[in-house]
């Protein structure tokens, strides 16, 4: 069961936070990501934030896409 979604912390108190998931407000336990703060993006699974998502996540994904494609392309060309 890996269902997890991305949201933004809009309120935080102790190890509880309110996370905005595309307009849905979810109460989440942040004890597994104590470093997460207001406005951070987090990955939420069954009511727990399990990872902080870097602000550059979007860029990272584009970069990985590019690198994977290039690496495969190079390999195919080198023959």
């Amino acid at each position: 069961m890996c269902l997890a979604v991305v949201g933004t912390i809009v309120a935080k108190e102790g190890d509880r936070a309110t996370v905005d998931i595309e307009g849905n407000m979810v109460e989440v336990v942040t004890i597994l990501v104590p470093e997460a703060g207001l406005s951070d993006h987090v990955l939420v699974h069954t009511g727990f934030a399990i990872a902080v998502i870097s602000a550059d996540d979007y860029q990272e994904r584009r970069q990985i896409l590019k690198e994977v494609a290039e690496s495969a392309g190079k390999l195919l060309d080198s023959d």
């Binding site: 269902l3 979604v5 949201g7 998931i21 595309e22 307009g23 849905n24 407000m25 979810v26 109460e27 939420v44 009511g47």
Partner: protein, 333 residues
């Protein structure tokens, strides 16, 4: 076949269709195959009437964007609209639970009154029953509706031909998610409101604009777009394009969280139209000019693989779009 009724029998999916086919139709001596029309057509002495009935057991009674009363009016009015009928009158049957606060009944009645006004229809007859505490979750409502049909227009899945376009009048999944978000045990406050709305006027505008080029109309309630398109796939098959299907981000987010496919989530203010290819753009134009249809989109096409509904996925893959089993979200409408 199960020995007793399960919650899933009310889900609008295959289990319910099975129940109707095996138990209900034979007992009533219904002629001909089930054509899954939302309302029946009665031709009487030169007049064509559409006649429909619907019961409402939604839990909770009040949800973001609506309530059981609004649902009861719109649900029935929209069933009439799918046949292109002008709604003439509604009946209103209440089954109230002992202990229901009168204030709650008042709120629901006000909502019914407002919705009927919006839909341009009158409640002309009704009935009220009360049952013991614990028997009705607050209240159940049944509404039946009569509408006037144009004799020259008929909308049915049988008229669908390969090449016809499938149009949805707006983003899907709002109603189901809105209701589920206020159920107990789900600790989230949804950014989603039910889309419950009367569609008669929007449908009338589309009919006026393209008339007989509309082959079939259905509102994707229980079972969502998936169930409804499968109902229409009798004389033809369909291919839907995942990328074209409008879904609000909040609905998508909630569906991801809860593990639902938006295509199987109920709508109460959307209409699916199957129209001849050459009428598709005009239909879109007319729908988008109506406040209830601003995000109307072409989401698929009919083809000759009868009975088969497919989805072209966002990566260009293909898979079958099944009628859902029917249990995802009980007591949604």
């Amino acid at each position: 076949m199960a020995e007793e009724i399960k919650l899933a029998h009310g889900g609008g999916g295959t289990l319910m269709a099975d129940l109707i086919r095996r138990e209900i139709m034979p007992a009533l001596g219904s002629k001909g195959p089930l054509d899954f029309s939302d309302s029946a057509r009665l031709d009487i002495e030169g007049v064509s009437l559409a006649f429909t009935t619907d019961s409402f057991v939604v839990q909770p009674l009040f949800f973001p964007g609506g309530d059981i009363g609004r649902l009861a009016v719109c649900g029935t009015v929209n069933d009439l609209a799918t046949r292109g009928a002008r709604p003439l009158a509604l009946s209103l049957g209440f089954i109230l639970e002992e202990g229901l606060p009168i204030e709650t009944l008042r709120r629901v009645l006000q909502s019914i009154s407002r919705a009927a006004c919006e839909a341009g229809v009158e409640v002309v007859t009704g009935d009220t029953k009360v049952v013991e505490r614990g028997s009705a979750s607050g209240m159940f409502i049944n509404t039946s509706g009569i509408g006037l049909l144009r004799r020259d227009l008929d909308y049915s899945p049988a008229r669908i031909a390969p090449g016809d376009r499938l149009i949805v009048s707006g983003p899907i999944g709002d109603h189901g998610i809105a209701v589920v978000s206020v159920r107990e045990g789900l600790s989230f406050v949804s950014g989603v409101e039910s889309d419950v709305a009367p569609l008669g006027e929007m449908v009338r505008q589309a009919v006026e604009a393209v008339g007989p080029q509309i082959k079939c109309m259905k509102d994707p309630t229980r079972g969502g777009v998936a169930a409804t398109v499968n109902e229409m796939a009798q004389n033809a098959g369909f291919v839907l394009d995942e990328k074209s299907i409008p879904v609000r981000p909040a609905v998508r987010g909630a569906c991801e969280m809860l593990g639902f496919d938006p295509l199987t989530v109920a709508n109460e203010g959307k209409m699916l139209f199957v129209v001849a290819a050459q009428a598709a753009e005009r239909t879109l134009e007319v729908l988008r000019a109506n406040p209830l249809g601003v995000q109307a989109a072409i989401i698929g096409k009919a083809d000759s693989r009868k009975g088969l509904v497919r989805l072209k996925t966002s990566i260009g893959g293909e898979r079958i779009l099944e009628t859902p089993y029917g249990e995802e979200l009980p007591r949604i409408c």
